[in-house]
Symmetry: D2
Subunit: 353 residues, 4 copies
């Protein structure tokens, strides 16, 4: 940590700042420059120290050199985290494909889509039962019934399932039915939700807030890890920029950056990341080429009549199947491969419902 | 609502789209242009119709002409909403000043600051008991004890109180102790929290998400209003941009824009909106000149030792008092005035604790 | 300047970096921390040194503590710059009002608008003769004829004139007819244009690039100052964000920030900064309250028929006149006043045409 | 084009607007909705009409349905543009690799790098002679001498050359020495430069402004095309966002979007797009997977001592060579291949120097 003081700081003031630092049990090295004085802090300081220093008079800036997250950092966990769920591995050299509709609509819909996801080579069935919507008058999902329908479809076709959880009180019921719990972009900093997810062991797919920095994203993951749940996947799903042609700007550099800063698997979401069906294929390919550990892709049998209006970014089943074949080829060039258990039925015998 | 179809859409396809529109009980007017066909929709359409149309093949764009929020819109409520709490009016020509520390730290701290806020002419005491923090290792607030300390300080000095609530399950306990519940920027789209706040009558100060559009902001307010709670204030607190010198970019145009789109009071937060003490004064003045219905300002007796590190943006008590005098003069020029009840004690007799 | 090296940097590598620093004639102080090694540089280093260090292997970051601009910085010029042009002062306690149409259209149009600007109390007539337009098929301005029309109108009514110059080769002709040369937002980093403007003495109003940081903005000003032209005004005109309701997001914090970092006058442009007529008045007031040294405002006698389509953000003459009266009152509260020379005619006798 | 009027617009006002439209020689279709009236315009309207309408009183919004650029649009030119320069094809199924240093430093430096680019399989040598720099005290390039050194190195090793031109007056001299002229991100809307480039036939690589929308980018290309130069390549080089870990956010969705809206080749710049050496490889691969027609990559033999400090994003020669091999494999999967003429010497006989 480095403290920079203003031109105008007196000797006494600098002495006070140094005293403040040493009181915290760490050492201060003062370097007087032409315009500014720089105080380097040596030793492991509490995060609160930076905050205190930043608010002291005459302090111009406090620059953290060490990262504020620990468990999420590759510094403390050099090897890739590989999460294994019912025989499916996510992370490392495995390329996980999660596919399905924006929202679960009916038993028939989700069963048919599950069949198609499995046939195409996917490992995980996605589908929302509780939907976060910008306005209160939009379709809000069908709730617990949707969870049950999706669990049944997953069990039948040998797919893991992932669904979004929006509030701490629904974590337990969602974890009962789904294999992976998704935290949506608007909830990345819903800290009570993160704390609750830290208290369970169900794997979590944490979506990046649409205006979150990498640092904030990894700190959000740290909340879950610090709570005791090591099974966290990071998901890049597009950030908000001035460009309105696409729904979001998919930040693919996030993939190698997050993989270098952290050991957690990084999943890309080209559907929400672009909001346009015709861009899903090229951006899915680009995600794999950039080193993604998996993809989460919307697919619908009848996008014209999807209940959420996200049909506009959903692939048709044949597009989805073709894309998965192409991704398998691409994956080989960057050291990634599908890891679909040969006998999934066995793993799924223990299904909870 | 207007639907624009691609160049390539066939006559049959356009007929299908028209049929889809008419099935929803509204009328369709087709205009064929040189490059595109435009279908205007006449009548009150459900939001779901736009979503369906957007996802139909060959539809290039769906442009909503009417707003998706109703109760928050000035179209449906032409007069300014004025919220009266224990004799203090917020909205219309009243300029409300909310001041206090980032976090409640001790009974002595909050009592002394309350005394100073009151003496300077403020109406509301701010202070956090539950703090949303980027990382799990930062100070998270002192919890329910803090609520009690602040309620006691407010009662003693004749100030309303405002505090942040982060999760649905804490709404009731916060509403027991505070007069106004604040929704933080990271929770603007925590829809379960908004729904819960719609079910109580305690006034809510809803902070704009740091990357939320005006439309999303007003839709978030709509969640609370639609739930049955009409007492909502909007708070501009800065948006995230590429500029890093300031913590956020305070978007003051939001004040007149929101006041023209909506009837709800608009409060400005120059403390979080800039993150730098020396900018609070000019931006507070600019907020009043732009027509703000109130301000929420951080003030601390000992910013160097604040527990959250937000001391860097907290005014010293004398700066706060001087600023309030200057704002009163400025307010007169734009038709705004302080509305501090002359006999506050009377109103506060009914205090809950 | 501070150099931070990676965890993995060897002793030899650090020695190499230190050697590199000392070769440049400055001193290096090495502090070894837990995770990183920090090398502080003491003395005035050339900018190129930072660039070299940043590109060296194992260097994680180079943080500049001193600013890269000098002549624009208040550190080197503590007093406000006040630019005097034909008896009109811009900077310090003077509030300068620049008004007029987006584009000069005809002698009658600009003469009538000049009369109205003067009658309302303005000091400077604005008007574009060369217009930067997004597409090649839009109206591009009427060129040199427009310069002449505006100069004549300014002379007749006793107003200074300001016009935009887009390319180095037009600097001389524009300077012949106008008192102030404007650099548009798209040209803030047109370095050849800045260099050319540094070679003349005509005052320059430099508009902030719509995505420029404060640091880049002041470095752009530095180009002009370093060339030998000390007469530079900075203009905040809105930045690009995700919000589309307004044309830009007017960043009013820029006013006090730039005034603290620099001695140059800061002018606000609420017309381009919002792109909506109804927002010009509140944002003009907010600009003055925030401490602006002046305003540049679009006004048109017949906005419905303006040639550029910027009529949508132009005030009507009566709105302009009323606003100026209100700004005068507001200005008094923040120590700013109009400085219209009592006998402008005298100063204008020396007019060049 | 669609015009939307405010709630409050009277019948007479709507009639005036319709009259205005018909005067322009196109038809108006009026649809009265519940809240708004929508006027559709049928026929080819001049851009100026939209601008006029937008500035008329009571007009709430004008939505362009047709694009404002024509020559750049795929609507008017369905087939991919393939630019052939001395036997090298850029566009369509050809994958062009441009490599070299940020700045030309000496004859030896550029000769050695040219040798390495050629040996690795590249087609074009990049190198700056005139450098746009944020501050006036940074290294500004070695000028015309650099042009000559690069032309000589290209000729010797059989590589095309590309260099940046910053101002209209240098277009001719740059075109004399280089095969492709680059317009930098800060000059994307330097309209006088674009007009000048439209008057020559030398191919132009137009970099996207770091805050430009796709629409503005294609309108900038339209300036060059409309001037008579059809040889334009578009270059995505990263946009400015709130993320500071990377220098820019490389927007890879721009590749398929621009290719669908336009017929011009799209080149990706993973060096400036990330600003970090370790991200160049994954983002180069992702660019090819997303369908890029080429890449422009910085490579330096001694990045530690590069003169511009951009060494931090330059690949070492062996990294560059390995990457090109991998890109060739990746390209095959997405239908792209290198097109290095077998006998380049022949084409280079006609070299101008």
């Amino acid at each position: 940590m480095i403290v920079i003081t203003k031109n105008s700081a007196s000797e006494e003031r600098i002495a006070e700042i140094v005293q403040h630092i040493e009181k915290a049990g760490v050492q201060a090295h003062v370097s007087r420059g032409t315009d500014r004085t720089v105080i380097g802090i040596i030793g492991k300081a509490e995060p609160a120290l930076a905050e205190h220093l930043r608010s002291m008079k005459d302090v111009e800036n406090v620059i953290k050199i060490s990262k504020s997250y620990k468990l999420a950092s590759r510094d403390f966990h050099p090897d890739d985290t590989v999460i294994e769920i019912k025989g499916v591995k996510i992370g490392g050299e495995h390329l996980a494909i999660m596919g399905g509709p924006c929202a679960v609509e009916s038993p028939e819909q989700i069963d048919e889509i599950a069949r198609l996801v499995k046939a195409a080579g996917g490992q995980v069935l996605r589908g929302g039962a509780f939907k976060p919507r910008t306005g209160p008058y939009s379709f809000q999902g069908i709730g617990v019934e949707g969870l049950k329908m999706m669990a049944e479809a997953g069990r039948k076709h040998g797919l893991l399932t992932i669904t979004e959880v929006m509030t701490p009180e629904y974590v337990d019921i969602c974890a009962e039915y789904a294999d992976i719990l998704q935290v949506g972009t608007r909830n990345m900093q819903n800290f009570d939700l993160l704390r609750k997810l830290g208290s369970v062991q169900t794997p979590v797919l944490l979506k990046r807030g649409f205006s979150a920095t990498y640092d904030e994203f990894l700190n959000a993951a740290e909340y879950i890890l610090a709570g005791g749940n090591p099974n966290v996947m990071l998901c890049e799903r597009g950030i908000r920029t001035f460009e309105t042609y696409t729904r979001n700007t998919l930040d693919l550099a996030a993939i190698p950056v997050l993989q270098s800063l952290s050991h957690l698997p990084v999943i890309s979401d080209p559907s929400h990341g672009t909001g346009r069906r015709e861009l899903v294929e090229p951006m899915a390919k680009a995600s794999v080429a950039a080193g993604a550990n998996g993809l989460i892709i919307e697919m619908h049998t009848d996008p014209d009549n999807s209940m959420t209006g996200d049909g506009v970014q959903s692939l048709f089943p044949d597009q989805f199947a073709n894309l998965l074949k192409e991704l398998e080829q691409l994956g080989k060039l960057v050291g990634k491969r599908y890891d679909t258990p040969k006998e999934p039925a066995e793993y799924f015998k223990t299904w909870k419902i």
